[in-house]
Amino acid sequence: MPLITYRKALNDALAEEISRDENVVIIGEEVAQYNGAYKVTEGLWQRFGDKRVVDAPISEAGFIGMGIGASMLGIRPVMELMFWSFAYVAWDQIINNAGQVRYMSGGLINCPIVIRGPANGGTNVGATHSHTPENFIANTPGLKVVCPATAYDAKGLMKSAIRDNDPVCVMENTLLYGESWEVPEEEYLIPLGVADIKREGTDVSLIAHGRAVITALKAAEILAAEHDIHAEVLDLRSIRPLDEEAILNTVRKTHRAVLVDENKPFCGVSAQIAATIQEKAFDDLDAPVQRVCSLDAPAIYSPALENLQLPTVSRIIEKVLQIR
């Protein structure tokens, strides 16, 4: 199987879906002639032309809202946010229009739109550019949100997101764009709402999404090598819909859970997962559920400190050792 980058996997997914469905159109800042601020859409404008790959001015509320309106007519826009942090200027459009219009119309309307872009800290760009709003999106019934951790997942989830008839937010990660994974050449889809065990284990469950999965895998490696603790790493992949069964199954297997989350701890994704575990697998637990989240302050600029602010391998190991 060829090794391709997370970026290329997304690019392939977009190209395949543009070719497959004439209603798929990519719209965003610098996506066409500039080839994408993070090169996710590289070459697509040259290949598919002005109609299918459209450069938008810096006007997120306007063009995201426009995409939502077009999706009501059956167009399938894939809207790029250069950063998910910029979603806040389009928040009314995403939350109120994409998220609520189906409900408020009693099911008469649906919005098959994808809004995608990176949502991560760790690149020393300060608090305004480092938001992880997956918890906000997941808190909005009507929206879906996925956070792929690998190239393989990014491609399969993106293709499913584009074919989904509901609004799907795809949160990528700039620190993963250049990382490579094995990705098959033949077409495949990954359904939304299916978690994936990235590493089998018996002693503790590390439950994560997005790049936190990669951090958890590194921690699991060290736990095995240095502490003889065999951690299972469960990648949620999709936050809403959520694979609750997979969460409960791994906890029932290992009886211990450490949740790893680049979201903030207060009302973050891990808070929801912890609530689910205590409610539905309380008797299976041999220790309290632990969490390793981003430290609860705005994302700091200082490179030295931001690396500490995000979940680190050492903080994961420390939490696991506390409940071993």
Partner: protein, 379 residues
């Protein structure tokens, strides 16, 4: 407009607007009845417009009665006084023309052909409502009639209207989107972003500003900076604009038709500001409705600028309608509205299970995607 109106202190633009070069409209600016789009109207159609305006008014008056009895929830933003705008514009719609508006949406809904029953039942929060009791007064929808709501956030629908236009152009359909908004919405950023995109990408959208002079309780002059009028801001984007007198159905039709032709034939946007007035408050719950403007001002509009009264007089003068005809139309509309209220009262409330319906298309349609993973969470 009435010279006594406090807003008359603001300079008005000469009429016709210099930027409008459309021959048809310019034929005789004093009498839009002679514009081609109106000259071809048959008496039956003209009477039909009267009927539509009266139906809207009777529907809303009836809804007000029941709202005041406590039988409806939330807000009730009445359109009474503005009826000629919705009826005049919507009368021009073709197969590929679409409508979207803000929360003062009952008039547009009935004008596009939604039934009184489904609309009234929605106000009562009943299962038979057009949105199954999930939207309420501000959120009426009928995509089968090219009517895309009914949107509660001021200006929030302006990018959606743009998207409808984008979708039409993308699909190669000759049509346009009429995106209605209030005068308060012109100060929202989303509207200006939409204007920029509309001009930049040459999208067939017509922004119709229904200027009823008040954004909730704040007068036009206290909320909007302008030289002469609100539509003129379109100049900054190189968008053609115009103003229309909303009490004259002929003028509303003539100027909207001109804007729609620009959209259809050249795929270009227009901003059309329609001068109008609402008799009731921002919503019925607007306790200060008679404090931020004088009762005399409201009476003046009712007595001298009422679009239904003026249209009726016009049709009588033209010899196509008698008082008796008008009374019969009014009686029928009252009866229809009363029957709609009875229909709503007799309808069932939605069952609790429906709370989780209409959230996700995939779940409602029981697809694989809709049954994979957990979509709803209990406490």
């Amino acid at each position: 407009m009435d010279a006594q109106c406090s807003l008359e202190a603001m300079p008005k633009l000469p009429n016709p607007m210099p930027i409008v070069t459309d021959d048809e409209v310019a034929v005789d600016p004093a009498d839009y009845a002679r514009a081609e789009i109106n000259a071809s109207l048959k008496p039956k159609q003209k009477i039909g417009f009267l009927r539509e305006m009266i139906r809207i008014r009777r529907f809303e008056q009836t809804s007000l009665k029941y709202y005041n009895q406590g039988l409806m929830g939330g807000f009730l933003h009445l359109y009474i006084g503005q009826e000629a705008v919705a009826v005049g514009t919507v009368s021009l719609l073709g197969k590929n023309d679409h409508v979207i508006t803000a929360y003062r949406d009952h008039g547009h809904a009935l004008a596009v052909g939604m039934g009184m029953n489904e609309c009234m039942a929605e106000l009562f929060g009943k299962a038979t409502g057009c949105s199954r009791g999930k939207g309420g007064s501000m959120h009426f929808f009928a995509p089968d009639k090219n009517y895309w709501g009914g949107h509660g956030i001021v200006g929030g629908q302006t990018p959606l209207g743009l998207g409808l236009a984008y979708g039409l152009k993308y699909k190669g359909l000759k049509g346009c989107a009429l995106c209605f908004m209030g005068d308060g919405a012109v100060n929202q950023g989303a509207y200006h972003e939409s204007l920029n995109l509309a001009a930049l990408w040459k999208l067939p959208v017509v922004y119709i500003i229904e200027n009823n002079k008040y954004s909730m309780g704040t007068t036009l002059e206290r909320s909007s900076a302008m030289r002469n009028c609100l539509a003129e801001r379109a100049d900054g984007y190189g968008i053609v604009w115009d103003i229309a007198n909303g009490e004259d159905l002929y003028e509303v039709r003539a100027k909207t038709a001109s804007a729609m032709r620009r959209a259809h034939d050249q795929s270009l946007p227009t901003v059309l500001e329609v001068d109008t007035y609402r008799y009731y408050g921002h919503s019925v719950a607007d306790a200060n409705a008679k404090k931020y403007r004088s009762p005399e001002e409201i009476e003046r509009y009712k007595n001298h600028h009422d679009p239904i009264r003026l249209w009726k007089k016009r049709l009588i003068d033209e010899g196509v309608l008698t008082e008796a005809d008008a009374d019969a139309i009014d009686e029928a509309a009252k009866e229809e509205a009363d029957n709609a209220a009875q229909f709503a009262i007799d309808s069932d409330t939605p069952s609790p299970e429906t709370i989780f319906e209409d959230v996700y298309w995939e779940v409602d349609n029981k697809t694989d995607a809709g049954s994979t993973g957990k979509h709803f969470f209990s406490e």
